[in-house]
Symmetry: C2
Subunit: 165 residues, 2 copies
């Protein structure tokens, strides 16, 4: 099981490779609509958890405090991979962890650096990862689409699966 | 009001330009998780409605029949635009409309062409569009991030707004 888990995490990391920005979707119970916003992925760790830096005062923190169930939509157009991840969000206010994940570029969003009192981490622990993995370049996808048209056979979109983490 | 509506639709079309694939998110009432899958956008029309071809037998059709409230996540990494659209889905089984939206490339998914009995259109009429519009190339975004780091001023992420359609 441990081995399966590691392989699943590897697959998740591989498919999200090169993606800087995902859509983090919170689901307020009585809200009219879902709530989504683009977020920079800081790291996907060896447990498959997805880490984000954010402002502690931002509205999404209130939403997460109300409901920890979140989803993450990733569209990786360069590699034609698509992910829909469901999981549980936790707010992590651990300076040691922040220091570990910090990089110089974060200064653009947090000019005060790690001393910024309005900084927190969101950790999303996935319980389900739905993926559409064509693992092909745009050229290959295009070629396969053309082949389907010419041969009259339905285009095989690549592998679609579900991972439980 | 008509003019506002037209301008809002224009903005929506402009921001989604060049995006082939979005994440269509359905929200089953008693489901454990949201349900999302990548979908090719066929067209955004002059009313701001977003059209998709799909198989009538696919599971998402059942979901839409149960709850017409859907969301669409668009991440346009090439132009650094991000959209979270909320709206109402309608199933459209109108052959004339299908003919209007049909293009040769659709044959890859529907080898039988417009005669395919397992074909339907999903029309999403948006009621709210949340957008994050940097309208900048990757180079400009990178430059602005670096500038923020050097000057110690927080990076201005570009325009964020909400359109009601």
């Amino acid at each position: 099981m441990k081995k399966d888990h590691d392989q699943n995490v590897e697959k998740l990391i591989e498919m999200a490779k090169g993606v800087r920005t995902c859509m983090l979707i919170t689901n307020e119970k009585d809200a009219e609509n879902l709530s989504g916003r683009p977020m920079s992925i800081n790291k996907i760790d060896e447990d498959g958890c997805i880490w984000f830096f954010t402002k502690a005062s931002s509205y999404k923190i209130d939403e997460i405090e109300e409901s920890k169930k979140v989803s993450i939509a990733i569209t990786n157009e360069s590699s034609n991979n698509y992910l829909m991840i469901h999981g549980t969000a936790t707010l992590v206010n651990d300076k040691t962890k922040m220091k570990e994940l910090w990089s110089a570029i974060m200064k653009a969003w947090f000019p005060l650096g790690l001393d910024d009192p309005d900084m927190t981490l969101i950790k999303v622990t996935p319980n389900e990862v739905n993926y559409w993995d064509s693992s092909s370049s745009k050229m290959v996808v295009l070629f396969n689409i053309l082949k389907a048209i010419v041969t009259g056979k339905e285009y095989a979109e690549g592998e679609h699966g579900k991972i439980k983490l």
